[in-house]
Structures are given as structure tokens and as C-alpha cells.
Symmetry: C2
Subunit: 135 residues, 2 copies
């Protein structure tokens, strides 16, 4: 099964996992890493390396979600592209994570999974006011 | 200043605020509400009502961000459209929240702010692998 790692400023990663689990139940192979004020970014790069190694130890694919393109957590993930082959998406939201947790059980094609979770993240962003007008 | 309320499953809301504050510093008029397993949805509807009343007490506009369209927190927000005039967007991610925290200081047109934060949320979702190819 595809391993999932979420890397964020603060505890956003751990809490978005808990929110997803409130909806879908307990999930396996979902890890998170945090960057807090004063944390060392080189240390985070190394922690990401270790998590990807661990999640891919059975030759499983790994998808890394981050909170913000251009932020330090994303940059520390980008740095690891020189070490490993994995997929990563910035701008994580709950629709994206829920789609990934579902897709990894049913879809084998990694590129399709990435496309589907990108779409789920984007289409999950919508104005409730506009949706209300359609009701 | 526009009041912000974030309503989510679990502590996603409080932690995305803390993540934004790690980047932008302490923010005013940003509240959150959570729905946990076993919580009463009617109670959440009432809590949302009270928060919107409080945030709009100075005739300020209110924008409510939720985690997931179709989820109970979003539905409890939708219910409050019958009580109040406010804007709400589902699928919150960190780029959306950061944009809102910036926009409310510089832009006065509420519709423009909503458009800008919808765009920020969507354009903040991107494949790091694709971005890496452009570097």
C-alpha cells in the first residue's frame, strides 16, 4: 500500500490525519512531520529522508503532502527528490487527503492517483454561497 | 476587520490557524469550532450562530472556512445562511487562509476577497514534481 507522509508548519499534518480518521476510521501507513519555530531545516530534511525510507521499505510508493508551496516544509521535501523517487503535492486539504486514502485502496496507477487527488483538492474548494444558490 | 471562523472535524481548524501564525505572526478575529465524534450537530449550529454574531458585532463582515463540502461542519454552516449574511468557503488549506489574512488588511471589496482566496486555495495545490521540472 502507498505510504503517505504529511509535512507541515506546526501540527496541521497530525490534525488533518485525525480529521480524516474521524470520517474514514483508523488508517495505516500515514505519517507526519512538523516544523516549528526555531526548528532546524536540515534536521527536517533528514527526518523526511528517514520517513520515506521507512514508508518505502516494502518497495511501496510514497506520496508526500505539504501545506504550502515555497514554505520550509515543502522546500525540505523538494531537497529529498535528489535521494528518492516519490510524488509530492503542496496545498493539502481534507478533500485531497480523503481521496488519497480511498484511491490507494482501489487504484494501482500512481500517476492516476496523483491526478485524482490533485482534482479532489481543487474541486473540494468551493463557495458554499454559490452551492446554496443551486439547491 | 473581517472576522474569520474556521469550522472543521477535530482540531484541524485550530492547528491551521496556528500554522498560519507561525508564518504571519499572531492574528486577531480568527476563531474556530470543532466537531468531534459523538458531538451534537444542532449544538454546533448554535455555536456557529454565536461566533458569527460575536465576529460581526461591529458590523464587520464574516468569512467562514470549512474543511469539507458535504461534511457535518459545512452543513451546520449552510444551516446558518438562513440567519445571517456571510461568505463561506469549503476545502480550507493553508494558502487560502494566508491569503485571507493578508487580503482582509488591504482589500475592502468582499467579493474580490472571496475570489482571491478561492484562487489562492486552488493555485496553492500543485505537484512538487512538476514544479521541480521547471527549476
Amino acid at each position: 500500500m502507498i505510504g503517505i507522509l504529511i509535512v507541515t508548519h506546526g501540527n496541521l499534518g497530525v490534525e488533518i490525519i485525525k480529521s480524516a480518521e474521524l470520517i474514514m476510521g483508523k488508517q495505516e501507513k500515514v505519517e507526519n512531520l512538523t516544523l516549528n519555530l526555531g526548528d532546524n531545516i536540515d534536521s527536517l530534511k533528514g527526518q523526511i529522508k528517514e520517513k520515506i525510507e521507512s514508508l518505502s521499505s516494502d518497495k511501496d510508493e510514497v506520496i508526500v503532502l505539504t501545506d504550502l508551496y515555497g514554505g520550509s516544509p515543502s522546500n525540505a521535501v523538494l531537497y529529498n527528490f535528489k535521494n528518492f523517487d516519490f510524488q509530492s503535492i503542496a496545498g493539502v486539504n481534507l478533500p485531497m487527503l480523503l481521496e488519497l486514502l480511498s484511491q490507494r485502496k482501489i487504484e494501482k496507477d500512481l500517476n492516476k492517483i496523483v491526478d485524482n487527488i490533485l482534482n479532489a483538492g481543487v474541486s473540494g474548494i468551493k463557495s458554499l454561497n454559490e452551492e446554496m444558490k443551486k439547491m
